[in-house]
């Protein structure tokens, strides 16, 4: 068997069963913010204990293991089709062993393919690697959180939102309010300013790969992110929407050039179970981070 299949299987397993350390740390911090023994505290505590149990037992953190999205950096001379086939094979195996729940259904008939494969599944975005390493980022995003995403078109009179950063701020606050607890709050938001409709959503999703403790290189966006975290938490939606101080854990904002006539603000909402991991293959050895 292609060793890449094994490494990719390891990537899927780890993503599904072991939450990234930064997200776990943020959940712990959030728990400290809430009154011990109160409902918000208990909910965060259940999430954290669930993360620990899942890691120990090697079982999926959430039974909705989502749809599979891969971001692949392909080194020169490597055939992307071979990578696609290896990823498909790994998904098949991961589904068989229960690391993934079969989640690929026909849009009209609802028939489940049973192996998580299908048209545009897995979704893979290829780009050239800057060096000779093969880098594969995997994002598992559940249906409940995906349903809470939103796209705004500025200007938006109802929100008094113009085509500027203040307008973007207004869209995000509005989206978090509308999401309430439905995407399993506290959420992690990926935001993309600009792009076309499809590119905006794709860019927003990509923001979810950023480490939670990084700082946006653009000072204006860094400030916007801070302001959004603070103010979205003032909405009081709280963990699972039961009320509380923590409604979002992080907000990450990026941008793309846009058509002069369009100004989209796209928001990808990830649930607290923000499952993403990276596989790097260098010098013939694969390692999952």
């Amino acid at each position: 068997m292609d060793p890449l299949v094994n490494w990719a299987l390891e990537l899927i397993r780890k993503t599904s069963t072991d939450l990234s350390p930064d997200v776990e740390r943020w959940l712990r911090r959030a728990r400290e913010e809430e009154a011990e023994g109160g409902t918000a505290w208990n909910v965060l505590d259940a999430m954290i204990r669930n993360v620990e149990m899942s890691r120990e037992a090697g079982t999926p953190i959430c039974q909705d293991t989502g749809l599979t999205t891969f971001f692949v950096q392909v080194p020169r001379g490597t055939d992307p089709e071979a990578i696609r086939e290896a990823l498909q094979q790994a998904i098949r195996l991961a589904t068989q062993e229960g690391s993934l729940r079969p989640n690929s259904v026909h849009p009209i008939t609802g028939k489940n393919t049973g192996d998580n494969l299908g048209v545009d599944l897995p979704h893979i975005e290829f780009e050239p690697s800057p060096d000779d390493g093969l880098v594969i980022d995997l994002l598992l995003k559940g249906g409940g959180s995906e349903n809470t995403g939103a796209q705004y078109r500025l200007p938006d009179a109802g929100l008094k939102a113009g085509r500027d950063l203040e307008g973007v701020y207004r869209c995000v606050v509005d989206a978090v309010h509308h999401a309430q607890g439905h995407g399993c709050a506290p959420g992690i938001l990926g935001v993309c300013i600009g792009g076309d409709r499809a590119g905006g959503y794709a860019g927003a999703k990509r923001q979810l790969l950023r480490p939670l403790d990084d700082t946006n290189p653009d000072p204006a966006l860094a400030e916007l992110e801070e302001r959004l975290i603070r103010d979205c938490n003032r909405l009081g939606v709280g963990p699972m929407g039961f009320g509380g101080r923590t409604t979002v854990l992080a907000v990450k904002v990026g941008w793309k050039h846009r058509h002069p006539a369009s100004f989209f603000v796209s928001i990808a909402y990830s649930c607290w179970a923000d499952r993403h991991r990276r596989l790097e293959v260098r010098n013939g050895v694969g390692k999952v981070f």
Partner: protein
């Protein structure tokens, strides 16, 4: 908000259910039956007499679990709640026809369901979304499964015996809804933040 979770062992009387209020945390023990979209449709399309005994006094759990075969039986691997609102068109009828104690799910439900809860003395309980492993551990036994062939694993009716299953009452039999309250407060803050 701090309150000791109330231990509730099923079957519970309608009186007890009517006494529950939103925000109350519970540790539930007894029978819960999973049902998602296909299950609800099935229960409402026609009255299913063979489900009447099973469902009466039990909780319907909106959940599509991950299960693995273990010898002759099954083991629950991951079993958190799924979004309840998809069942809004069916829920009131399931409550009325099968006399269930209530529903466990996530995200809350609409006015039609709320009216059915009031009418029949039932409650809506919210489990922690995403806590698949933790909640699976609170399943003591998989009693049986129905419609597995027809519906597949996530949609089948799994009859589970749970022990100290943690939930929060978010819709009660008096018409109260924690979802409505949190939404109203959040709407007020949204308007304030945006100067609307």
């Amino acid at each position: 908000m701090a309150n000791e979770p109330l231990r509730l062992r099923m079957p519970v009387s309608e009186e007890v259910l009517r006494g529950l209020t939103i925000g109350q945390e519970l540790l539930l023990s007894g029978t819960v039956v999973t049902a998602r979209d296909m299950g609800h449709k099935f229960l409402v399309e026609a009255f299913r007499p063979d489900f009447a005994d099973l469902l009466q006094g039990a909780f319907v759990y909106h959940c599509g679990p991950i299960m693995v075969r273990e010898g002759e039986g099954w083991r629950v691997v991951s079993a958190g709640p799924t979004t309840s609102n998809r069942e809004e068109p069916y829920q009131a009828e399931v409550i009325a026809r099968y006399r269930i104690a209530g529903v466990i799910g996530k995200g809350g439900m609409g006015e039609k369901t709320s009216r059915a809860l009031q009418q029949h003395g039932a409650v809506y309980l919210h489990a922690v979304g995403g806590a698949g492993t933790l909640l699976a551990r609170r399943v003591r036994r998989v009693r049986e499964v129905r419609m597995l062939q027809e519906f597949g694993v996530p949609e089948a009716f799994w009859v589970l015996e749970v022990e100290d299953f943690p939930v929060v009452v978010t819709m009660d039999a008096r018409g109260g809804s924690l979802h409505r309250e949190v939404l109203a407060a959040s709407e007020a803050r949204r308007k304030e933040l945006l100067g609307l």
